[in-house]
């Protein structure tokens, strides 16, 4: 059985068809790219997967569990984590707390445990702090653990956001334009980071990106969206030469 599958996903915003008959299958372990012009419906697909909107039609399955109709927190607890196009860290909490709170799906204690301070509570809280610290360590963010995100440079915030998603121990990681707003040195670092975390955490990564350098270099399979419909899919080489993709999105000069 494949890890993740979308079948016939269609979504309307009022009369506007944002996504039309979208299909994708991820076997597990891929690094999949989703590209397309602005307004093609890429982020809408992510939002549909995460449960922000309920799809008009179609099915989304993770490990055979159907997702449409579930609340976003339920979807994320099932193993889908994501980052955002415009970073959405909790600005007033420290980096460490940001990573802690994302582990709400692994909380493992209830209100009674909290107020009585049971053994379960102490153990689980200790474990949550340990996971966050380890994550900060591997992402080289230890020095900023007690900073609040709003005081950090953009590139570091991106890394914190990826770290926050990883502490949820997801099976599928959705990255929405991870390279947006980064300088070219940071982009190279980010590409390495994505490839590294994918191997290190045995993740399946699905990313939306506008910077062709990123998509063409790290993705193993790419899907191109235009006006809500898939116009092409294939390996980076296929996509580069595809006539429809060049017309709709890439333009002549990219080769």
């Amino acid at each position: 059985m494949s890890l993740f599958q979308i079948q016939g996903l269609t979504h309307y915003f009022g009369g506007l068809r944002a996504v039309h008959n979208f299909n994708v299958t991820l076997e597990g372990g891929e690094l999949m790219g989703l590209i397309g012009p602005n307004g093609a419906g890429k982020t809408t697909v992510f939002n549909l997967v995460c449960g922000v909107y309920r799809p008009t039609q179609g099915d989304i399955r993770l490990n055979g569990t159907s997702l449409p109709g579930r609340y976003p927190h339920q979807v994320s607890s099932l193993g889908i984590a994501r980052t955002f196009q415009n970073i959405r860290l909790w600005a007033e909490m420290t980096v460490l707390e940001n990573l802690n709170v994302a582990q709400h799906c692994h909380l493992g204690y209830g209100l009674a445990d909290l107020f009585i301070k049971t053994k379960t509570f102490r153990q689980r809280e200790g474990e949550i702090y340990r996971v966050s610290r380890e994550m900060l360590e591997v992402l080289e963010l230890k020095d900023v653990a007690h900073e609040v995100p709003k005081n950090l440079p953009y590139g570091i915030q991106r890394r914190v956001e990826i770290g926050r998603a990883l502490t949820m121990k997801p099976k599928l990681l959705l990255l929405d334009e991870p390279a947006a707003g980064l300088n070219s040195a940071e982009v190279v670092g980010l590409m390495r980071l994505i490839q590294w975390i994918q191997e290190e955490f045995h993740l399946t990564v699905w990313l939306i990106e506008h910077q062709m350098k990123v998509v063409m270099n790290i993705c193993t399979w790419i899907q191109v969206l235009d006006f809500g419909a898939t116009i092409a899919e294939g390996t980076p080489d296929d996509i580069r030469q595809n006539k429809r993709v060049i017309d709709a999105y890439l333009g002549e000069e990219v080769h």
């Binding site: 995460c50 922000v52 609340y71 976003p72 927190h73 994320s76 607890s77 984590a81 994501r82 955002f84 959405r88 860290l89 909790w90 600005a91 007033e92 909490m93 707390e97 802690n100 709170v101 994302a102 582990q103 709400h104 799906c105 909380l107 204690y109 209100l111 909290l114 107020f115 301070k117 509570f121 809280e125 949550i128 702090y129 926050r164 998603a165 949820m168």
Partner: protein, 339 residues
């Protein structure tokens, strides 16, 4: 050992004040002020949970206070005294001493349930719209009480003095002072424990970015429900204590005016700062007492000070910091949630 210093200091303070009260060293007026400080600490700390930590704007806190005040008062009068409407005492008045915590708890639970009136709409609305709902709830509670003849309607409800007297007959101690202090410490412990846990920090995540919280596996509905019920429940506890301190309550004590006082204390102390709430409750109560000679002019002076505060220090006394952030040395004396 150091981490227990705060607990020991609190205990010593409690024993000293109770002792001073018991031996008549503290005159009745100071006792009253001290008890009102306790009640106000509970009110401001519990409202801070919503307005400070969770970032919603609740302006109907007095409504929940009223629920707690009336439920616990009616219960204690009904159970322990002979009342014109409610009939003879059901239980022997001596039992009041032992059952009083249960009565306060009943008021707390009732107020927490009333909190659902705000919690459930909060799933779909927020910000200004939710603020209007909290206002409406305040009015609903007040109007229901005003129109319920069984609890005295607009004339108010009394008889709690007799219950407190019954406690004093069993053991000659300043009972209300003791209960207020226990209630205050309990409230602060509960709130601190909640907001310093990963569970409770979920409400701060809701304040900072609700959609991100929801997408990062935080069950925002459950957390809102917990936060609103906790906050309104504790307001109910404050109400129960308030009613038994005064021995008389009427719907006029729980109007939007009272809610505004709670708001002032939260904003004066700093949103999201528990020690700020405590400091401002102490300061605000004392200030009101000091300005008492001014009589009505007090209500011009106090709001004017609020205007000055908003102009020159909008983040309140403490901002979102705690005392232990300002004086890091204090951190050794008690454990905060920051590990």
């Amino acid at each position: 050992m150091k981490q227990y210093t705060l607990a020991v200091a609190t205990l010593v303070f409690l024993v000293l004040t109770t002792g001073a009260t018991a031996f008549g060293l503290l005159d009745a007026y100071y006792q009253l002020v001290l008890m009102f400080i306790g009640v106000n600490i509970i009110l401001s700390a519990s409202l801070n949970l919503i307005n400070g930590y969770m970032g919603e704007f609740s302006c109907g806190h007095a409504g929940f206070m009223a629920v707690g005040a009336y439920v616990s008062s009616v219960l204690s009068v009904w159970l322990f005294t002979r009342d014109g409407k409610l009939g003879a005492a059901l239980l022997s008045p001596e039992l009041a001493v032992y059952l009083f915590p249960a009565i306060l708890l009943a008021g707390t639970v009732a107020a927490a349930l009333a909190g659902l009136l705000v919690a459930i709409p909060s799933f779909r609305t927020r910000g200004d719209y939710l603020a209007i709902i909290t206002l409406a709830v305040n009015y609903i509670v007040k109007s229901i009480i005003e129109n319920t003849e069984a609890v005295g309607g607009a004339r108010g409800f009394m008889g709690m003095k007799k219950v407190v007297d019954a406690m004093t007959e069993v053991a000659d101690l300043p009972w209300m002072m003791i209960w207020v202090m226990i209630g205050t410490v309990f409230t602060l412990l509960v709130i601190r424990r909640f907001v310093s846990s990963t569970y409770g920090k979920g409400i701060v995540a809701i304040r900072d970015d609700e959609i991100a919280a929801e997408l990062m596996s935080v069950n925002t509905r459950r957390l809102k429900m917990v936060a609103f019920m906790l906050s309104s429940g504790l307001a109910g506890l404050a109400g129960g204590l308030f009613a038994h301190i005064l021995g008389y309550i009427n719907p006029g004590s729980f109007t939007i005016m009272k809610s505004t006082e709670c708001l002032v204390m939260v904003y004066l102390g700093g949103m999201g700062s528990l020690s700020g709430s405590v400091l401002s409750a102490v300061g605000f109560t004392l200030l009101l007492e000091l300005l008492r000679p001014l009589e009505l002019i007090k209500w011009v002076v106090v709001p004017f000070m609020l205007i000055l505060l908003m102009l020159f220090r909008p983040e309140g006394l403490m901002g979102s910091r705690e005392l232990s952030d300002l004086f890091p040395r204090l951190r050794a004396y008690h454990r905060t949630g920051r590990e």
